[in-house]
Amino acid sequence: MSSLLQKICLIGNFNVGKTSLIRRFVENKFSDTYLTTIGVKISRKPVTIKELDKEVTFVIWDIEGKTKEQAISTTYLEGAAGAIIVGDLTRVETLKDINQHIQSFLKVNPQSYVVVALNKSDLIVQNKLNKLTESFNFQNHEQVLADYVTSAKTGEFVDIMFHQLAIKLVSKG
């Protein structure tokens, strides 16, 4: 089984749940307590893709949440093979910023892939969710693989999202 080491970044406005998504993915845990990430937090998680008989070890860079106005330090993004851009379904402005984040990430890493996570789906009713997902479209860029309505709290679509990114990164190489 060949194995690969890949850096991926989680980008998004503050308090959209980047750290929680990582925590759900890496440790399968969730906490309501909100702790701001300062600078960067790095986690590591191996993902086995049985279909392809391959293993990817994600080095996940949890980059501190910024808004559109405060640009993320590009040096943190450099060398990333993929990114998960996170928005908060309960705050429309965070969703609006997603495209901006995608742009800035792909500018630094033109060869890499992006997945969009619309997080905190557990806090929003289905009707509203449908409306929101209709009004926002992130698939306008070919390097954006998919968008997922996730919930770090329930774990909904979290693993699937990371898995999809993993498959893409493996098949790319």
């Binding site: 690969l4 080491l5 790095i42 330090s73 060398g79």
Partner: protein, 863 residues
């Protein structure tokens, strides 16, 4: 706000999330105030429902409400007075307190009301007031509701028989629970469906009635009191009840009436309660005392929670009091379970006990150390002792090794280093002893922070490479971005650890080192990185995170160069300097030594030359004379017996000294050496021999013999020419050890008395004996080799003269021939024949004596 919000935190969003969640979860949790809030909200909803149908009512109600407020206020004042009255009577202090607590607590406290002999009217009024204190618009309907409910309560309580009460009582707890539950449920459903509102309304009413019933069904109330109570409130409440919408015009008067009626009632109430208190106080006590324990027990079984609440507030004070009075018994009571309770508390909240004890731990340990240092040492030794011992053993071993090597090249190098750096050698030794150890080496891609290759020699404490690499990269990025651009992070010091960075184009090396590394190690890191870049620069640039490829393996091999033991590395590095040092050392030693030895050899050469020259001189060779060169002088040392010899030495040496440009310093001492008599004697003998030889050769007519005693030479012998005597004396006196010369010499030639006789007429001797006389002649001739011999032949006077002469001549020739035959040179012999008799023989004597040959010696100068 409710209690949960205080706990849950600041964020309003999460608050709502969490509160909805916890409401479901925490049904049993006691949160009185929240329930009240909830029920108020519920009231609000209900109010909205009823609003249309009862719009008129609401207006009236508001006014009524305003009046009621006044009324209640008045009642409050009365209550206050009453309270004072209660307080003054010592028997019922709890009741008043409970009254106050009821006022503040929303949930009606059963445990408190149980034993209270107070008027239900008051209680109900109380209740109303609580309801009224909620916001205005809602409370109008609320009042209505309350009053209605109260009516029901009233009837139910009046109608109630013993069984009913009991039944209600038994169902109390479940109902309460249920009501709470439903409240939360209602709250939950409130948002979603409007239909459920009706249901909740009904539910609420039902619950509320229940709660009112509960209040009234106080099991311990005295019959008389309850009767009285029931009557009194009936009147008051009926009058209130009559306040209805269609009495709009008369509302003010009615309210006044109501107020008046209550006012008139008040003194009665006070009186009654006082009477009740005074009158039934003892009675109640009497009734209660025997069953008080049962009461408590019973109550405890019924509702532990409430009972606990009731007692709870008293417990701390009670315990405090008990501790003050009898600390020992409290101690004994608590002691057995203390450990258990701490364990339990730790189980419940891990941090609480450490937190509580933490601040005192330091003091406790300090105290214990002061009291029993040995015990503490014993306790800590297994932990710290072994660690320190192990560490120190290693250090000591290392120091020992280095001390052993003190005289090795490394030792010398260290000494020099110590001098240069101005630190003590011990410090350097220690520094070397506490040598650094490479814990991990990571080759990390610059941008991505991915580990391309890593090396971790110590398997037991492996570092999480990916996380570390990522974090280090982030730190570097941060430093680059925020602090100074275009500069690199060199090093992170972390206690005893160092993380050293060395950066190149697309990757950097992070080396985690335990201990203090040195500059040389950084050079090595740099070299390794240069090597890596040179060989694998491109691969690293294009590295995509592939694991366990050839690149990883070959890079790891390069990294292993850094892992090698630093002491080895040091020694492999050191010789260059060392060789220089040794070279310089050798030069400084060898050059002066060479010069010196050259000078020495030159000196020795001159000295030898001088010695040879001195030795070559026969007069000086006898004496031990030492030539010595000192600075620019040629010294001559030694002893000679005479000044002459000393001067001679100077003469011999001067040419050499001049040649070597040295100043001659003759330090030869003249001394009288006691001479060896044997040597002197030999010398004398030799001199005599030479002289004799000399005399022979030069035809000196002398033959000498000499004897030596007491520094005196006695010369004996034949010495004809006496003029040469002075010369002889000088010669002998020159011989060392000779002081005096005595001559015992003869200047006359020796005589030979030997005569050889012949028979008459014969040419030869008659017998060999006669011829043997010649031996004596030979001896003399040999003794004086430089003397000559005359052979004189005499004859008798018988016969003719001619015949006799001829005969005599023949006889002499025979002897002559005989001597020559015996080795005498012919030139030393002279033959003479005469007819004359020998000089001492006269004519008359026998002819036999006349026929003979005699001998006569003669010298060189004589004929």
């Amino acid at each position: 706000m409710n209690s949960q919000s205080n706990l849950e935190g600041e964020n309003p969003k999460q608050e709502t999330r969490s509160s909805s969640e916890t409401n479901v979860n925490k049904i049993n949790q006691d949160s009185n105030s929240q329930n009240i809030d909830d029920s108020n909200n519920l009231q609000q909803e209900t109010c909205e429902q009823n609003e249309d149908s009862e719009s008129e009512n609401s207006k009236n109600n508001q006014e009524i409400l305003a009046n009621l407020y006044g009324l209640i206020d008045e009642l409050d004042i009365v209550e206050m007075n009453q309270q004072k009255a209660f307080e003054s009577s010592p028997a019922i202090p709890t009741s008043t307190k409970q009254l106050n607590s009821t006022q503040s607590a929303a949930d009606q406290n059963f445990s408190s009301t149980d034993l209270e002999p107070q008027s239900p009217l008051l209680k109900k009024l109380e209740l109303k007031k609580i309801k009224l204190s909620s916001p205005d618009s809602n409370s109008s309907s609320l009042v209505n509701l309350t009053i209605d409910n109260h009516g029901i309560t009233q009837s139910s309580s009046t109608d109630s028989d013993e069984d009913r009460i009991l039944a209600n009582k038994q169902s109390t707890s479940p109902i309460t629970l249920k009501s709470e539950k439903t409240n939360s449920e209602t709250l939950k459903s409130k948002n979603s469906t409007p239909k459920s509102l009706e249901y909740s309304d009904d539910l609420y009413n039902h619950n509320y009635i229940d709660s009112i019933i509960k209040q009234d069904v106080n099991p311990q109330l005295d019959d008389s009191i309850s009767l009285l109570n029931i009557e009194q409130p009936n009147q008051a409440l009926e009058s209130i009840h009559q306040v209805s919408p269609h009495w709009l015009v008369q509302k003010e008067r009615q309210i006044n009436d109501l107020a008046n009626s209550i006012n008139t009632l008040l003194p009665l109430v006070v009186e009654l309660s006082q009477t009740q208190t005074n009158g039934s106080h003892e009675h109640i006590l009497k009734n209660l005392v025997p069953i008080i324990d049962q009461v408590i027990q019973q109550r405890s079984i019924e509702d532990q929670q409430k009972m606990a609440e009731a007692i709870a507030s008293l417990l701390p004070k009670a315990i405090q009091k008990e501790i003050q009075q009898e600390p020992k018994s409290i101690g004994q009571a608590i002691a057995p379970e203390l450990a258990l309770s701490i364990t339990e508390q730790i189980r419940l909240d891990e941090d609480a006990i450490p937190e509580a004890l933490g601040s005192e731990m330091g003091k406790a340990i300090k105290n214990q150390i002061e009291k029993e240092p040995e015990a503490m040492v014993d306790a800590l030794y297994p932990v710290i002792g072994s660690t320190i011992a192990k560490y120190m053993a290693e250090v000591v071993e290392s120091i020992n090794e280095r001390v052993d090597n003190a005289l090795s090249p490394k030792g010398i190098q260290r000494k020099i280093q110590a001098k240069i750096q101005g630190v003590s050698e011990a410090e350097l030794i220690l520094q070397e002893s506490l040598a650094y150890r490479v814990q991990a080496v990571f080759l990390i891609q610059n941008k991505s922070g991915l580990v391309i290759a890593e090396l971790q020699p110590q398997q037991e404490s492996r570092l999480e490479s990916d996380l570390l690499a990522g974090m280090l990269t982030a730190i570097r990025s941060f430093a680059n971005d925020c602090i100074v651009s275009n500069s690199e992070l060199d090093e992170i010091d972390y206690g005893n650890f160092q993380i050293m960075f060395e950066t190149s184009g697309y990757c950097y090396l992070a080396v985690v080192v335990n201990g203090e590394s040195d500059r040389r190690f950084r050079d090595r890191i740099r070299k390794v990185l240069t090597n890596i870049n040179h060989k694998y620069g491109n691969e690293i640039k294009q590295y995509q995170g592939e694991q366990e490829t050839n690149l990883n393996v070959s890079l790891k091999k390069i990294l292993e160069e850094l892992q090698t033991d630093n002491s080895q590395a040091k020694s492999s590095k050191s010789p260059k300097t060392l060789y220089w040092l040794i070279g310089i050392l050798l030069l400084t030693i060898l050059v002066p030594w060479g010069i010196l030895s050259y000078q020495h050899s030159v000196r020795t050469n001159i000295e030898n030359n001088v010695a040879i020259q001195l030795d070559a001189n026969p007069e000086l060779s006898v004496y031990r004379l030492t030539p010595k060169i000192k600075k620019k002088q040629l010294l001559l040392q030694g002893r000679v017996p005479t000044k002459y010899l000393a001067n001679l030495a100077t003469q011999v040496t001067t040419p050499i000294a001049q040649e070597a440009q040295l100043e001659l310093d003759n330090q030869i001492v003249t001394v009288n050496i006691p001479h060896d008599p044997n040597l002197t004697e030999q010398e004398i003998k030799r001199t005599v021999e030479i002289l004799n030889q000399h005399s022979l050769n030069q035809n000196f007519e002398s033959i000498l013999d000499a004897s030596y005693t007491d520094q005196t030479v006695t010369i004996k012998g034949l010495f004809i020419d006496t003029t040469r005597q002075k010369k002889l004396i000088k010669t002998f006196r020159a011989i060392p050890g000779v002081e005096n010369v005595i001559f015992v010499i003869n200047n006359q030639l020796p005589k030979i008395d030997t005569r050889i006789y012949f028979p008459a007429g014969a040419n030869d001797v008659s017998s060999p004996q006669e011829l043997a006389k010649l031996d004596d002649v030979l001896i003399v001739l040999n003794k004086y080799p430089w003397l000559k011999l005359k052979i004189i032949s005499h004859s008798d006077n018988v016969g003719s003269k001619n015949a006799n002469l001829k005969l005599g001549k023949n006889r002499a020739d025979n002897i002559y021939q005989n001597l020559i035959n015996r080795g005498i040179k012919p030139d030393r012999l002279k033959v003479i024949a005469t007819i004359q008799p020998p000089p001492d023989i006269i004519e008359s004597q026998s002819a036999t004596l006349k026929r003979c040959i005699r001998f006569e010696l003669f010298g060189i100068n004589s004929n």
